[in-house]
């Protein structure tokens, strides 16, 4: 299982790097999808099959598809790529690189002290997640549903306004 974890984690990091550096929006989104799939695999190896499945269904299967959909609708091509290349000058990488390096150092020291060595002995099934969500985390779930309700009402309103305007 350790080898599976290492491979999945490596793919996730590599795909994320590729995602940041691609000038073409669709290619970047595809790498982000690969990264999400790899993270789902990491969840699965760590003993959270339910979280892994939801990661694929919701992030890779729904949200990223909508991103790709919008990019397709806007149909941004060569000009946008040129613009993106223009923005991503070498100097722009300094700030993010320093911050990422700091995070990496922090992670490295934690690992060196053995703070990351947590065993994944227990598998957390769907029922356990459901009980946690409807028990101690009920309030968070309700707040999230408020947000979604607001989004639904907004979408409904926008759709109606367009229809009246015709």
């Amino acid at each position: 299982m350790n080898a599976m974890f290492a491979i999945a984690a490596g793919i996730a990091v590599l795909a994320t790097v590729m995602m940041i550096t691609r000038p073409s929006a669709v290619h970047a989104l595809l790498y982000l999808t690969v990264s999400l799939l790899a993270v789902a695999m990491v969840f699965f190896v760590l003993g959270a099959p339910f979280a892994a499945a939801l990661e694929v269904i919701i992030y890779a299967g729904a949200i990223m598809v909508l991103f790709v959909f919008v990019v397709m609708m806007l149909n941004i091509g060569g000009e946008a790529e040129a613009l993106e290349n223009d923005w991503l000058k070498p100097a722009a990488w300094i700030g993010p690189s320093v911050l990422a390096l700091l995070l990496g150092l922090e992670l490295g020291t934690l690992a060196a002290r053995g703070g990351l060595a947590r065993s994944a002995a227990t598998v957390i099934g769907p029922q356990a997640v459901g009980i946690a969500l409807t028990g101690p985390y009920m309030l968070a779930v309700e707040i999230a549903s408020f947000l979604l309700l607001a989004a639904v009402v907004a979408a409904f309103h926008l759709g109606r306004a367009v229809m009246r305007g015709v």
Partner: protein, 324 residues
């Protein structure tokens, strides 16, 4: 030693299972054309081999020997990736289906149903990316239709299964079939059954919901630019998709392998086969709706129905005494 034996046996199971799927999907192209011929009062392909069954081989050879062409204006990498996604996702989803407790590629996955939904979610990419990478107006329109249609119908498909999961108390497909020993879920979950099947047709974009590739307005939709074996992969992917939805419907609503007299795998085969024939009958019988009608049906009829179904199922489970 025994561990390596297990690995070899597992690999053999996967290879044989996938080979069986590919061959059945290829044969289905012939079955569909013969059945369509029967429904439309004409012979259908009947020249190559007995009853025309070798038409499959002839088509395969023809596709393989066609020039493997990528349009110069296309995005080559994504263009090649799209048909592969179409086949890989449906084949992976097929892997979790238990034909009987013993026959299946992976069989026992404790999030089996979610895995199926995840794979059908990923299959959207094949149509979307094919449409985008082809760099062609018709393809792009087809890809956009496919994205909107599949993302919408996925919602109802997932919600329609909640009732089944509530009754069975598990995401494991083997457990779901076992809990149907006394009554198939098509009876208590009739609404769920209808919505799931409609969602499945939309998800495989088969007629009458094949608007992403509607010939009369979009050429061939998202696969307009595809030829040779890359087109063949979309084609085989579509047929495995039909098998997948039929097999899932059998497992979730029609009692899987349960049935009198005949051995379990034959019952599974018969139920799945009849559903596949029903898919083909739908293609022969129904006209294509308008795109806005398709979306309106989904959001204005199927979504409220599935929500009502969940509410009623939950209320009955709480209200009725004993194991529901």
């Amino acid at each position: 030693m025994s561990q390596s034996h297990a690995i070899v046996a597992g690999l053999l199971n996967v290879v044989l299972g996938l080979a069986f799927l590919m061959i059945t999907a290829a044969l289905l192209t012939w079955v569909e054309r013969r059945l369509l011929g029967f429904f439309q009062d004409r012979p259908g392909p009947n020249r190559v081999g007995p009853f025309g069954v070798l038409q499959v081989a002839a088509d395969g050879i023809k596709l393989l020997f066609k020039q493997d062409w990528i349009p110069p204006f296309a995005d080559a990498g994504v263009f090649v990736l799209a048909p592969a996604i179409s086949m890989i996702t449906v084949m992976l989803a097929m892997a979790i289906i238990p034909a009987t407790p013993l026959i299946g590629i992976i069989g026992d996955l404790n999030v089996g149903l979610l895995f199926f939904l995840a794979m059908s979610g990923l299959s959207v990419y094949s149509a979307v990316l094919a449409g985008w990478a082809s760099n062609n107006k018709y393809s792009l329109l087809g890809g956009m239709r496919a994205a909107a249609q599949m993302v919408s119908y996925e919602v109802f498909m997932g919600l329609s299964l909640v009732g089944v999961v509530m009754l069975a108390g598990s995401f494991n497909l083997t457990d779901i079939v076992r809990s149907q020993r006394h009554m198939w879920y098509v009876v208590p979950q009739f609404l769920g059954f209808i919505v799931f099947f409609l969602g499945g047709i939309a998800e495989t974009h088969r007629l009458p919901f094949d608007l992403p590739e509607g010939e009369s307005e979009l050429g061939a939709g998202f696969h307009t630019e595809y030829s040779g074996m890359k087109f063949g992969m979309f084609f085989v992917g579509e047929y495995i998709g039909i098998m997948l939805i039929s097999a899932m419907t059998t497992v979730l609503f029609l009692g899987g392998w349960y049935g009198p007299v005949l051995p379990p795998f034959m019952w599974f085969g018969i139920k799945t086969g009849l559903l596949i024939c029903f898919f083909i009958l739908l293609r022969a019988a129904l006209p294509r709706p308008r795109y806005d009608q398709l979306m309106a049906l989904g959001w204005k009829l199927l979504l409220p129905l599935t929500l009502l179904n969940i509410l009623v199922t939950g209320a009955l489970m709480l209200g009725l005494p004993g194991p529901a």
